[in-house]
């Protein structure tokens, strides 16, 4: 069994009286794709945002390699190795795809406070950025501005940027949101490759994709952890069917 990298213990996030995350305990293991599903408002995105440091937790602990990182500043999470992609495409639209990844890679490689060295002179960064683009299959778009590529490609770029930060954990927030079938297939095959190397936490509404990709699944309801199990067991679990899958009227 592979080791646990990222862990949440009794994690709570309250928005005023609303308990978006309530006493959540969850563990993510290396080289596994762990997806989190649940109806709208179950707290999936909140969980990701808390795990990547964008929202400070109300209480509870986040452990990374067994060490608490709950009190790190939001920008330090990425430096620690927790990369995150966004539900709403969140890229630098005016820069080229390559430049987008360069921005990501430069953080790790340093030299960001160098006022005088030309950015293009830093070959190492460009290479990392290129290989990140290649990994997601965007190498041909390297010099195209990010606004000019298709929506699906922007989603791929989003993942490439996370990869360029050399993370250990990938927190992916609905990477397939708003995609057509073919585009989704691209992402699915990409994620299949990536899960061999990274610990991936996936929040996704496309259930076919989730069933196809997941090693482990967690079902969340109302900010609470309902069950964590393998895909097969989740499919057959009456509790889950009740809460989420079984009801045909449910709109995801």
């Amino acid at each position: 069994m592979s080791q646990t990298i990222l862990e949440a213990e009794n994690l709570c996030k309250f928005w005023g009286g609303l308990k978006a995350l309530n006493e959540l305990n969850i563990q993510f293991k290396d080289k596994q794709l762990h997806s989190i599903v649940g109806p709208n408002g179950a707290g999936k995105s909140t969980l990701l945002n808390t795990l990547c440091g964008a929202y400070p937790a109300t209480s509870g602990v986040i452990l990374y390699h067994g060490k608490p990182i709950t009190n790190l500043k939001s920008y330090e999470f990425c430096r620690a190795g927790i990369g995150r992609s966004f539900q709403k495409t969140n890229i630098f639209h005016n820069a080229t795809c390559l430049e987008n990844c360069c921005i990501a890679a430069q953080q790790r490689m340093g030299g960001s406070f160098n006022l005088f060295k030309k950015r293009s002179k830093n070959r190492q960064i460009t290479e990392i950025a290129r290989s990140a683009l290649e990994q997601v299959g965007l190498a041909a778009r390297a010099d195209t501005r990010a606004t000019e590529v298709s929506y699906g490609e922007q989603r791929q770029l989003e993942i490439a940027m996370v990869l360029a930060t050399a993370p250990e954990v990938l927190l992916l927030d609905e990477p397939m949101a708003g995609m057509g079938h073919e585009e989704s297939q691209t992402i699915i095959s990409l994620l299949k490759e990536l899960k061999k190397k990274y610990c991936i936490v996936l929040v996704e509404h496309d259930m076919d994709a989730v069933f196809e990709l997941s090693d482990l699944m967690t079902v969340m309801v109302d900010g609470q952890h309902l069950i964590t199990d393998t895909v097969e067991n989740i499919r057959n679990n009456p509790l889950v069917q009740d809460a989420y899958l079984g009801n045909d009227d449910e709109v995801f």
Binding site: C52, A54, K73, S74, Y75, E76, F77, C78, R79, R84, F86, N90, I91, F92, H93, N94, A95, E99, C102, I103, A104, Q106, Q107, R108, G111, S112, F113, N114, L115, F116, K117, K118, R119, S120, N122, I125, M161, T165
Partner: protein
């Protein structure tokens, strides 16, 4: 790769500095125009430093004139009254001290952003305005006078006599050139990459692991000390400093010039200041109500030219929108 981001910029810069170099020969000692050009060039340095902050870093400030005024005051207060000091040494002092002040001010104002930052920079600038306007020691409303201009010898060589208008003009032109090159270099650097990123999408830059506060602070300090340098040149040219240099309308006018020139283009600051001051000069001579016509014209220009004059030139030369 050259330092220019597009063709129109390259053409403009070459043309501008070529004309700038030779224009005193044609003016044949017409000191009025030489002085006028020096003033506008000093203004262009100030506007350029503001444009870097507003257009490149995305920090909108209405208090940039504080540093413009401080530059003048720092020199006048520091320099002995009846003794010629060295220009380069005092350039260093002025920029260092104003940079230090900018560091402190930046630590405060950069905690805010957007409209709040506009308000707090404005408030701080007005505070320093009233501080100098009410201080007896620093001359109150009348300000302070520069009786002796600095000498400019460097390693015993002395090329420039600041009492001479043409020499002073060349000093300003050189400063503007250096300023432009400096900004282009930092824009193309690794630091510039982060600045571009955090201007467009600060949240994403944070998610990528950048502490954007540090980068903004550095940009703020750089820009402010160059604004102070412009104020220092202003003090040398006119031989005085007074609180009106710090008043909020100086910041606002500079902001208009930066927008007019094309925000974020840096070289647009030069165009903006020359167009603004040129219009000012001509309309002022036509009618008493120059402000009315000037205002109308500027509104028209800003509305019609989306990316300012620089954007317009870029379209003219067939460049793509950037």
């Amino acid at each position: 790769m050259s330092i220019f981001s597009n063709k129109s910029e390259k053409i403009f810069i070459y043309l501008f500095f070529a004309i700038g170099l030779f224009i005193p020969l044609f003016l044949e000692g017409n000191t009025f125009f030489i002085n006028k050009f020096s003033t506008i060039i000093i203004l262009a340095i100030f506007v350029m430093s503001l444009d870097y902050l507003v257009g490149r870093t995305g920090l909108i400030t209405l208090g940039h004139a504080m540093f413009y005024g401080l530059g003048g005051y720092i020199f006048t207060i520091l320099a002995p009254e009846y003794e010629a000091v060295n220009f380069w040494v005092y350039t260093f002092y002025v920029m260092l001290i104003s940079g230090f002040i900018a560091l402190i001010v930046g630590l405060i104002v950069l905690r805010t952003s957007g409209i709040y930052m506009i308000m707090i920079t404005l408030a701080l600038a007005q505070m320093s305005f009233y501080f100098f306007a009410d201080s007896i020691e620093y001359g109150g409303q009348d300000g302070l006078f520069v009786y002796i201009k600095p000498e400019t010898s460097i390693f015993g060589l002395n090329f420039l006599d600041l009492e001479n208008e043409t020499h002073f003009y060349y000093l300003c032109l050189l400063s503007l050139f250096n300023c432009f090159v400096f900004f282009k270099i930092i824009m193309n650097s690794s630091f510039g990459r982060v600045i571009d990123a955090l201007k467009e999408n600060p949240d994403r830059a944070t998610a990528l692991g950048y502490n954007i506060f540090h980068f903004r602070l550095i940009a703020y300090v750089l820009s402010s000390s160059l604004a102070a340098y412009a104020g220092y040149l202003f003090a040398l040219q006119f031989g005085f400093v007074n609180p009106s240099m710090m008043s909020w309308d100086v910041s606002a006018t500079a902001l208009v010039m930066a927008l007019l020139g094309g925000q974020g283009s840096i070289y647009g600051a030069i165009i903006g200041s020359f167009v603004y001051e040129g219009l000012h000069y001509f309309i002022e001579h036509l009618t008493e109500y120059w402000m009315f016509f000037m205002g109308a014209l500027i509104i028209a220009l800003v509305l019609t030219l989306k990316n300012g004059m620089a954007g317009f030139l870029n379209t003219l030369s067939g460049g793509k929108r950037s």
